[in-house]
Symmetry: none
Subunit: 199 residues, 4 copies
DNA sequence: AATGAATGAGGATTCATTCAT
DNA sequence: CATGAATGAATCCTCATTCAT
């Protein structure tokens, strides 16, 4: 029942449940945290049994890992691209611009990552995530710049991550806010670049 | 037996265990997260029984609450002071300066708060903390400023919170880093102030 | 499709998978025990799905039962033969001799039976196995003999079962060990026969 | 309630529950096997909750380990003693005699060990038990004797272990049976000693 | 001021089994 | 002949909490 589609194809929507588990899980993880979200809860909301989850994923952690891998792919590609470019201010601005867009697609995941750092540190994705962040940092910052300028770069990255969520309860349309955040981030990086020239 | 002597030497100072519980708890909470830290673990590290913890605190949450209240008192006072001042750039700078110092004393707690947001949101201190942050925000930002400038202010706050931990694996002495972070934060607020004048 | 060819070459011989399941199952049962061996494990090692096992066998227990029946047929025949003979010492020796040989073919099964008695007792083959053993015992022992002599006979049987596995970590070639075990068993039965004559 | 004794001592029978858990656990382990016995079952029979078991023992395995350690102490001592004696036939007989007696006290445990070998092999006591058996074997057997004589010695040991349980459904009083088994075992060892002299 | 003993609720995970395709 | 998807029941275990002493 219910697996027949308009065109009469009685397809078994392979990946349907798989995908739905990921969706609901991310929703709940982001809402309540990883630890506080039980598999029972996920299963109930999907109207399947806990055991069904285990048919699709070997462990609770694997659910998270799979979400993470799926949603951070665009960032991986961005990092790959960024590392191949010359470390100019132009590159950095472009990276921030693209990063800002990539974040939109993975917003719930990043909100989750940000709010569950303690938990994630102990999980297998902990290091993976940290590595990605450090790679981004190394694309953005200049290790020979002043400490202050380095802080500016790190702050730029942070502003982008946090900005999106912290501003949730502020007035204004989401796309506008994204642009404002991006502007501040680009400003910070630009200042970091200008900085050393006028010591 | 015989835990008090006339001159106070070698006595189990009242509040000794109480304090030790808070210390160990915060240490573990910050390290592993609130959910992953069990009372058994805290008790074991203190070499007392779980039941002993219940002599000093009614619940696990109360341990956290008490830590929170003790460690955020300086910030409360700062907020009180800040609200009483005129909303000038000078005030804001001073607030950031003092905030930066206050953060040093409460660093593990803030690290904890930052890394356990999802958990904390469901706890009683969740709102308290959010309120404090919003009050800080309202001291720092100007609600009539452009969205971008508002982001600058929020970013200034965020930079201070995050900066301290994210920079842990970066070179340089802690006090220097604190100053660099403070500088960037003050810069951001200063720019936010300059901004509206050149629209 | 296409699993049989005219000349029988390259055909999926009927019972191929059936047989392979039994082989792998016995191997794992003997190695890890019945309870600790899951159908998932068996299926994985065969590179089929669990459901495939259910095409060939109705239950997990049935897999074991079928192995048991296949491998103990020679013993059944031996018992049939033994019961038909006169209860002389010669018969008993011959039975032991043949039993020893039969054991070689069913070694993994017997190792399994011996190491999983608690489990087997609750299974349908439990009684069957016990019955076989009692019938063997009744061929070997003389119910009117002294208790000691009866113990000798039971011990002879036991020695044969256990001997093969316990001696695994002892020096020497398997066939030699089998003969040594057989010799001791025959000795025991011989003594049991000599016993009553010299009270 | 119920913890007051005749003499008015209101003692908390420390170790009472601890001991009762061991008793019931061994009973069930021996009856149904280790795997098939769930903690729920043990708890129910004791009219406590599962969690209570975990107050007394860290894991299910630890319950078994503790039983094992308590009940095999006499054997450890016997082995210690046996190793210190000269390897004469007299010593061996004495060891068997004492072993036979020690077995009576630990009968359910040994029945359990015998019937759950597959399970035990994977548990921490597996090796401990095997070690004890090999030490016994090395006290009893002579490594330079003929293979047949070595089998005799191993068989003697085995006969003692198995004899007690296999003979359960045979006529006669328990003590008598024990003596018969012991006699056969001693005979086997004696023959092993006499053997090499007449090659 | 602290302990020993226990509980109830819930956690993740595994298993044998079923059934439509 | 075999699979993909799912279930229900059970498993071991952990946790915060309570209470008499």
């Amino acid at each position: 029942m219910g697996s027949t589609t308009m065109d009469g194809t009685k397809r078994h929507r392979r990946g349907d449940t798989h995908q739905r588990i990921q969706d609901v899980a991310l929703e709940l993880f982001a809402e309540q945290g990883y630890e506080k979200t039980s598999l029972r809860e996920i299963a109930e909301r999907l109207e399947v049994t806990k055991a069904a989850l285990y048919y699709h994923f070997k462990t609770k952690e694997e659910i998270l890992v799979s979400i993470f891998e799926d949603l951070t792919r665009p960032m991986d590609e961005l990092i790959e691209w960024g590392k191949a470019q010359p470390h100019t201010l132009g590159t950095k601005r472009e990276v921030l611009r693209r990063y800002s867009e990539a974040l939109v697609g993975a917003a719930p995941l990043f909100r989750f990552m940000q709010e569950n750092q303690a938990t994630i540190r102990e999980l297998s994705i902990g290091n993976e995530f940290k590595d990605r962040m450090l790679q981004m940092r190394d694309i953005i910052r200049d290790p020979d710049a002043s400490l202050t300028d380095q802080v500016r770069c790190v702050s730029a990255l942070f502003t982008m991550h946090a900005g999106m969520f912290v501003l949730q309860d502020v007035d204004g349309d989401a796309e506008e806010k994204r642009k404002a955040v991006l502007e501040v981030a680009i400003d910070l990086v630009t200042q970091a670049h200008a900085g050393p020239q006028v010591p």
